[in-house]
Symmetry: C2
Subunit: 242 residues, 2 copies
């Protein structure tokens, strides 16, 4: 048996997220089905992280065990030939037998693209915010995220986890290609955490939330208003680091 | 009567090109229909250039005359509210009464994106070429294009025009964002000219065509092989200069 590691890119627009569901097209479902066809054996796929409906990936990592003797190149080409155009295998590697795509991941990196004008060409990949945003205030708020904090206020279902502490290792919010790009690397992410962070940062940028209130949310404070979750299409899982 | 100038962005993927057809969804058709609804009068739209099926635009320019007294902001917002998500008005201006979007254009700028690996997220906007390409040979061939040449060999229907002379004012072929970007500015473009140029430049890059043969095509030579037309999705009309 070999333990195979795949790096995947997908356009989340037409998927109901990563995880297999009884109904609806999912990335895990499409990948499992085509791998089973190619390898002629049942395959159980483990992903580094589940992405929500509409969220994209450039560097999702998965692993699975197989008894097939197919070459890595044959697997790579064969799978890309079978997969629909919105899922692409970028890399195929043999991993050590104990490698686990989810448990062994030490850092995850996301990009969220905020568009500042209406767009046709990027509409599937940005959240368009037409209100004026104060970038420097947003940048300062974003910089507070660095380090270990309790992200309870930035999790859609905090009760599911033992604790909500996450260590943010890198964070930036910058103008790029006429958009605002929010990049964040952390040891773990909670449910919808990046999208809630972006929703609240945009709140800071348009004056709905003060920087002091934003900071309070990081020290166990509860949001006064319903949580603002940025829409999924702006989000992309960029990289998993092992 | 005011003469209105619009700058448009559109995703050509789901359009049968710019020009109205008896059947099939076209950008001109969708724009005319929604402008007529908004202004409550028939509207005749003139575009700087027709784009083919599947070709995109970030800076298409059109003009039309209207007796409507709607404000420019009302026109901008109203039209973007009515238009489908794959067409967006970027700018609305009042032009001089004699302004003609096509005849007054002095330069047109196109970008063609060549992808060098399989991609899910950019599949609607790049031509993926998996054969190895010699970038420096392609760059040298592209540099020959600068100046005025007879582009008969790079036109799908040369008989339709009086002559095929075009003046290329800027040209570049560069690595950008892990892709190869071909940018070209000229006073005019012939039918499918950019796509044939890219098809032949890729021919040079993979050794199918020598640089000498490419140069001969620019001096009235006829292609020995069937003309290689790069697919539409990599092409984007970037800017019209008046």
């Amino acid at each position: 048996m070999r333990n195979i590691k795949l790096t995947l890119e997908y356009d989340g627009t037409d998927f109901c997220g990563w995880q297999v569901q009884p109904e609806g097209r999912t990335v895990q479902g499409v990948l499992t089905e085509n791998l089973t066809t190619l390898l002629r054996e049942p395959v159980k796929i483990i992903a580094a992280g589940r992405t929500d409906a509409g969220v994209h990936a450039r560097g999702q990592v998965v692993n699975f065990s197989t008894g097939s003797t197919i070459s890595l190149q044959g697997l790579h080409r064969g799978l890309n030939a079978l997969l629909p155009p919105d899922v692409v295998v970028r890399r195929v590697q043999v991993a050590s037998s104990g490698f686990h795509a989810r448990f062994d991941a030490v850092r995850r990196q996301y990009l969220y693209r905020i568009g500042v004008r209406s767009t046709a060409l990027d509409r599937r990949y940005v959240w368009t915010v037409l209100r004026p945003l104060d970038l420097s205030v947003m940048q300062h708020a974003a910089s507070i995220l660095l380090g270990t904090h309790d992200f309870t206020a930035f999790c859609l279902s905090p009760g599911e986890r033992k604790h909500c502490l996450c260590q943010v290792l890198e964070v930036s919010l910058k103008k790029a290609r006429g958009e605002i790009h929010f990049r964040i690397t952390a040891n773990r992410f909670l449910h919808s955490m990046v999208r809630i962070l972006v929703g609240q940062l945009v709140g800071v940028g348009c004056g709905r939330l003060s920087e002091v209130e934003f900071k309070q949310l990081l020290t166990g404070g509860k949001p006064h208003q319903p949580v603002a979750v940025a829409p999924p299409q702006g989000l992309c899982l960029m990289r998993i680091i092992y």
